[in-house]
Amino acid sequence: MSVTDIVFILTAVVTVGSAVVVVVSRSLIYSVFSLLFTFFGVAILYVFLGADFLAGAQVLIYVGGILVLLLFGVMLTHRLYNLNLTTERFQPIAGTLIAAAVFASISLAAFKTKWKLVGEKELEPTTQQIGEAFLSSYLLPFEIASVLLLVALIGAAMLVRRRTDV
């Protein structure tokens, strides 16, 4: 077993273990902070897959943006004197059964399918390829995504503003 394998196994264990804490923990703060480790673990898995740009984007957007937003969401939806930031579980047995069935079917499909794989590719920087693809074959989706972000920004600001009579 090489060092790479050991690092991979450690990363996988941390990712999956913290994801378990996210969905099982009763404390909302614990959930948010273990989501941090899940996101970092996924970023390291991206590095294993040779996706350098995506690993950086994962850390910047998920850890720097989405996680902070979720933390805001936790803090703003509880009164400050209510320090009991816990959540109830709901139908744990049925949920476990459904999740186990989903996991079984997906992993069965993943292992049984004969994937058409190519041999080992060289690791190369992907940022230039992604940038060129954005401005050539993915130009229309790129523009639509920017409009989507603008609409989401305006929509979110509209939704949370204090209602005054216009």
Partner: protein, 101 residues
């Protein structure tokens, strides 16, 4: 080189954990965390196939768009959750069962 199936296994596990979180949580923010787990697992699959099969960079492009949509989704969803909290004074999804107050 690490085999593709291990990545698929991790991704399947994250996906089913996300489904579990969405199904069993009552707090709206916690349900959002489950959705984020699901999106991350889908992204992991896209990037894994981008590396191991012949699709090339396209898989990573899809993953970039998934990240963009996830960012937009979480912003709008949290705005909705905050509005829900202001109107109903709770983020328990079981009690969000009225159309108008």
């Amino acid at each position: 080189m690490i085999e593709l199936k291990y990545f698929l296994l991790i991704s399947a596990f994250l996906f089913s954990l996300g489904v579990f979180g969405v199904l069993t949580r009552r707090n709206a923010v916690n349900v959002l965390m489950g959705v984020e787990l699901i999106l991350n697992s889908a992204n992991l699959n896209l990037v894994a196939f981008s590396r191991y099969s012949s699709v090339g960079i396209d898989g990573q492009m899809f993953a970039v768009f998934v990240i963009v949509v996830a960012a937009a989704e979480v912003a709008v969803a949290l705005a909705i959750v905050l509005t829900l909290y202001r109107v109903l004074n709770t983020v328990n999804l079981d009690r969000a069962d009225v159309l108008k107050r």
